[in-house]
Symmetry: C2
Subunit: 161 residues, 2 copies
């Protein structure tokens, strides 16, 4: 169930939903542990070269993505809500310690709901205006976020005993 | 004690500290109840004409300030941390529901520490760059925030039995 403070606006926001056949606990671990996150967080052949996680409100969420040509793209943001196995909210609008960011773009809400032995996976990208939504869509939100969910599920299954 | 996620940077941030002779519980109530907040939140003869509070992370914090000439200034932001009688963090960098704001300016941290029958009151304004800090200082941060603490203490004492 979507957090009651989150109000999705179809004109401003983007949503991706999937039913996946891995348990919420392993999805949570994949999202919140650097060594797991690096393996699936960007569509291959892009890679994550750095990942730092301080999993608490106001704590750091930092990644560096590397293109196949070797160009690096750092991302720095902070967590807003951390409810294990249920909800993770982070933003690049604030830096760690809630300092206003020089490059505000969006807030991400990840919501996990147990469904049998699997998970209903819902990712919401919240933007401040229609232009930002459109640029995110044009950057390939649906394909990109969809691809990484598949990569995440494959990574989780590879780890399973 | 300042929250461990908050890192004050003197080049970017502004801090106001006071020892005041009213208990933390009444300071908390003055900050989190619209009918009390309206009475002290802006330096008189300015007034607060509207105040809406949804006291939870992601919840609305909205005020409208009115100048002696009758001009109105709306402010809209959201709470980030709500720890009763201890710590309140809010920002105008995000709107309610964590939506990126069109007018990001600062994050405010209020920290209350019990001291005898009174309170050590610490307010921190966190900015993204030195220019924003300077404009906040030029707007009268120290006088303004100092004045409203005095107004708050006087309001609380007036309410006391």
């Amino acid at each position: 169930m979507t957090s009651s403070v989150i109000r999705i606006d179809p004109k401003l926001d983007l949503v991706l939903e999937r039913d996946i056949d891995v348990p919420v606990e392993l999805v949570w671990k994949a999202w919140t542990t650097p060594e797991h996150l690096r393996e699936w967080f960007v569509p291959k052949p892009w890679t994550v070269t750095e990942c730092e996680i301080d999993l608490r409100p106001g704590g750091m969420f930092r990644t560096t993505m590397r293109s196949p040509q070797g160009e690096e793209f750092p991302n720095l943001g902070t967590y807003l809500e951390v409810t294990p196995n249920e909800r993770l909210i982070f933003t690049d609008t604030l830096l760690p310690g809630y300092r206003p960011s020089p490059k505000p773009f969006f807030t991400a809400v990840l919501e996990l709901t147990r469904k049998g032995n699997g998970t209903h996976y819902k990712a919401i990208a919240i933007h401040g205006n229609a232009e930002t939504r459109k640029s995110h869509e044009d950057m390939g939100f649906h394909d990109g976020w969809g691809t990484v969910v598949e990569q995440m599920v494959a990574h989780i299954k590879k780890q399973a005993p």
